[in-house]
Structure formats: C-alpha cells, structure tokens
Subunit: 138 residues, 3 copies
C-alpha cells in the first residue's frame, strides 16, 4: 500500500468564496503514482468546506444566498461570538456544505461522474487556510 | 491491497425517490472478496445522494417534506435555472442529504449498526444515473 | 495493509449531547500501530452523528438551537412518529450534522488542522449507542 499527502493553501480575497480545486487534486494524484485506491480531501479549518458539485456560477450564488438564509451572518446572533469571534455563522454554513469528500481512484484517475468537480468553500476568508489531500492505494 | 469497482445504474419512475441499495452493495462486497477495509458508495451525479438511515416509509416522506421546505422546487427560484435547467433545488437537496457514505468492512461484512441501511436519493430523476461502489482492503 | 476496528459505547445523560471523542480515537490509532492511512469514525445509530468542529461550548449551544429551528422536536410533527417513535426530528438533525468523518493518518497521528476535534453528537440519547472506529493503512 502506498500513501501520499499534500497540503494546499488558500487565502481568499472575499469572505465567502468557492474555488475549483479539481486540477490541484488531480496533480496530487499524478504525483502519488497511485492507480487504485481512495482519495480524501478535507478542509483543515472548521469554517471552511470541501464539497463536490457543478462548476456553474449561478449555482454558486444560489448556495451563498441559501446558506445565508439557513445560517445568517451576525455578530450578535451566536453564542460562539461571545468569545470575541464573529464567525459563528461560518461554522454552521460549513456544516451544511460538509468538511470532506472521499473520491474513488480507478485506473489512475479521479473516478467522477460527468459534472463532478471538487470545490474549496470558504465562509470566513481573507486569511491563510489549508486543505489536506490524502491518497492511499496501489 | 485489493481494490474492487462497481457501477450501479438507476432510472427512477419519480422525480424524487429513495431506493434501498444495501443488498447491491453487499453483493459487490461478496464479489470483491475483501474481508477488512473500507467501502465508498457515492452518487456520480450532482442532483442525487447516497445516505444511510432507516428503511421506514414515514421517515422517507418526512425527509421529502423537510427538503422541500429547506430548498423548495421552483423554476424561477434559483439563478442556476437561468441556464435552462429547472433543478437548482435538487443541487441543494442533495447537499443536505450528502453525496457519499464510507462504510467499514469487518469480517467480510458491511459493519453496520442495527438499523443502518444505504439509500440512493434521487432529486431530479426519470433519467439514467450512476452510483459508484469502490472497496479497498484485503 | 493493516486494519484495526474498535467500538466505543455511549449512554448520554441528556437527550441531546455532544461528546469530544478525539482522545478515544487517538488511543485506537495508537493501538492499531498504523502510521499512514485513513481512519473512519461513524455513528452506528441513525439518530446520532460523528462530526468535526471546534470544542467551544457556545458554539455547541448554537448548533443545538439551530438544529431545533431546522428540524424541531415534536411527537405530532413527523410521519415517522406514527410508528410509535418520537424521534423523527433526531433523524433529520443527524442528517444535518453527518453520520461519519474520515480522517487522514500521517506519521502515526490524526492529521488535523489547529482546531479540529471529533465529536459524538447525540439527538435521542439516554440509552446505549455505539460508534465505530475503523483504521486501515500501514
């Protein structure tokens, strides 16, 4: 069994931002030399997500509007913010979108359906954060 | 390390539908010959889910009603639908229910609690879609 | 490839409760002797979650208040409760928080960002329930 580890770093311009990281994960897979196995991709910070969906700008706006409805930003809306933070909403938003994805590796490729793309989802950005890519297999 | 890959195909009669796929995944596991490892089961389409919960019809109706409240269907409700689609809601519904599950394989079996069953969740059906089963281990 | 399996048992005092299980999972990892691989941690019951977030009490209260808004408790609110149960809401709450996490193992450690902690999330407690820890790697 082989294992390969890579850390990706992001520092978004915006507070909320979605970044397509499919090609970075594909590059990591190539470096790993693994042909059959599993690939974990996860946010290492708890106000960010990694998720799989469509690379369509309208949909991404829909996600942002929807998350704002389900878990609105607001300094005085969350007990977590009594610690001095203002990102209580971001912890909830990331919970909806998910921390991680696990992707099958088949024949040396990310084994994806026609529209699947991997995104980094930032909900409290404008500072350095990391994503972990871990691939195991043979 | 062994790896086994199988694709399941679904074409639901209804727009929304939940299908218990536990026995199909169990069959894939038998064919794999793997006794200890991990099994990934994921929707390959971005308006469908794979999730684990109870095989109880009332609960499934509760899920549908609840998802309709959280992310209602509506051609004019989502920017994604400006592309000509009408399935913006389905992308959000699938996000709540999840893309994938990872199941432990122990002693040649899906290592499940008493009520755990694997479901395919369709939110934009009546056309052909695939689910991936990937098992790695020994 | 090595595989290691451990079951953790919980019987919470409260109906809703979050328990930090990071050290239990770390102990399982030590016993496994695995240095590089993947660690699956999942609730074996369908009204409970395993999730990763911050160990901050205010945030945990925010989660509970938020989940109660998204999927309120109520004997007469869910078709599932026509079976005699009163935990329809708990099935939905667990869906938001997630069934499982997959964690990378790097250099014999849980490969975590600065604030990542693993929690057991109980939404229908005061009875015995199990969590599965499955680690594969080398």
């Amino acid at each position: 069994m082989k294992a390969y580890t890579q850390y990706l770093t992001f520092n978004t311009k915006e507070k909320y931002e979605f970044i397509n990281i499919t090609s970075e994960v594909g590059e990591a897979l190539k470096k790993s030399g693994i042909k059959e196995g599993l690939c974990l991709v996860n946010a290492m910070h708890i106000t960010a997500s990694v998720f799989i969906n469509d690379d369509e700008g309208g949909l991404h706006q829909d996600f942002i509007i929807w998350l704002e409805k389900l878990a609105p930003f607001g300094k005085d809306k969350y007990k977590h913010n009594l610690t001095g933070e203002d990102n209580g909403d971001a912890h909830l938003k990331r919970t909806i979108m998910g921390r991680e994805v696990v992707v099958a590796i088949t024949g040396g490729k990310l084994d994806f359906g026609p529209w699947e793309q991997i995104f980094y989802g930032e909900f409290d950005g404008q500072r350095k954060k990391r994503v972990l890519v871990k691939i195991i297999g043979e």
